[in-house]
């Protein structure tokens, strides 16, 4: 009984409110629809359409009120003319869709390019997380020193990637990549010479050729090194020889176990070099993949935007 009374009173209040404000509410509904479908149009067209419909509704209400129509009748007339023109409203805004969509897609591409470095940093953090996960999930090698070293390298890579736009960070990162790659080349050389796995002559020649060519590629690819080495080709082997020879000597020391003490130091050296190489390559691969993915997506989005514009 109480519920019935409350609902009746509420219905009466709502009814009175609607009756009093019916015209305003209807006008707002129609204007809401105009705002909705014209949102996609350029500003000039959008403002023009909204102003024109607002004026039309005002004139319609005024005209019908002067002619003695009841508010309910005027509401019906407004709703009729609104509903009857809905298909044309949609048809009006459709030509604007390709342009807006193309701009939006192009914007996504620009954003991707803008966020390339933070995205690379995220890749670095993810690498760090995976590294720590693999470290704690494995029962082996759980020493504090190893953990600290691994994380220091990971954090350093992440920070360098984050601040990659800074010239100093870029040079540190590039130098570090160079060292890691030189270490990798040295290990490859050592393995090529000593391991039976690479005993096949063709494979050995191929690997040695790679070992010889890789440093040259790394060196000539950098503009600042280009300036340094221009006309001084003999500097290239001079700079690279100690790096490669050092890494190779460290590896050989461990492999041949000359003395137990030396073996311990050599093992640590190899561990450092190995970890530097492994983590460096993982981070580099993550960075390159991330960069390729972003540039690829950016290019794809630009292509889509151009396609949409062409269709327009």
């Amino acid at each position: 009984m109480i519920a019935f009374l409350v609902s009746t009173v509420l219905a009466a209040i709502v009814g009175m409110f609607i009756r009093t404000h019916a015209l305003t509410i209807t006008k707002q509904i129609v204007m809401g629809w105009v705002w909705l479908y014209s949102a996609i149009a350029p500003k000039e067209d959008r403002d023009g359409r909204q102003a024109e419909v607002l004026s039309h509704l005002h004139e319609l209400i005024n005209n019908h009120q002067k002619a003695g129509y009841a508010p309910g009748e005027i509401v019906v007339r407004i709703l009729e003319s609104w509903v009857m023109g809905m298909v044309d409203d949609v048809a009006w805004c459709i030509p604007f869709v390709p342009g807006v969509l193309a701009d939006r897609v192009k914007g996504w591409g620009d954003n991707l390019r803008h966020y390339r470095i933070p995205a690379a940093m995220i890749a670095g953090v993810a690498t760090l997380g995976l590294m720590n996960y693999s470290f704690f999930s494995s029962p082996n090698n759980q020493s504090f020193g190893t953990w600290l070293f691994a994380n220091t390298i990971g954090i350093a890579i992440t920070v360098l990637l984050w601040k990659y736009n800074h010239p100093l960070a870029r040079r540190i990162f590039q130098a570090w990549i160079g060292i890691a790659m030189a270490g990798g080349v040295a290990v490859m050389g050592w393995m090529t010479i000593h391991y039976q796995l690479y005993a096949g002559m063709t494979f050995k020649i191929l690997m040695l050729a790679m070992v010889a060519v890789l440093p040259a590629i790394i060196v000539v690819d950098k503009s600042w090194r280009q300036r340094l080495f221009r006309g001084r080709w003999w500097l290239i082997p001079i700079c690279w020889a100690p790096i490669i020879a050092g890494a190779l000597a460290g590896s050989l020391l461990i492999a041949h176990s000359i003395k137990p003490l030396l073996e311990m130091w050599a093992a640590m050296a190899l561990l450092v070099v190995g970890m530097l190489i492994v983590y460096g390559l993982i981070a580099l691969a993550a960075y390159v993949l991330c960069w390729l993915g972003i540039r690829g997506s950016e290019g794809g989005l630009r292509l889509v935007a151009a396609g949409i514009r062409h269709l327009r």
Partner: protein
Amino acid sequence: MRRKSGALTPIEYSILNAAVNLYRQGGEFYGFQIAKEIEDREGARRLTGLGTLYRALDRLQEQGFLSRRWEDPAIAAQENRPRRRLYQVTGKALSVALTSTPSNIPLVLALGESSL
């Protein structure tokens, strides 16, 4: 289906004729007046759909049958109402309205141009 260049749809033709009538009565006119004119003249029970009317006006303006401008905001403010967009028919509209049907408008226009 793509329509023939220069051809008008029935609603555009009605609007054009209403516009010419209003023009002859007093020069410039606005959207609601056209809807009212069509309703009064053609005995249509309902006012033309809002979207239909303004989309057709856009097309007529693009085709050069109508020209338009925004009313001076001071006048609208003085009369305490939203600003109107005022339309005016062009010579092209006067040459085809009332003397043709929607489908033969391209022909009428072509004849008009060749006789100039």
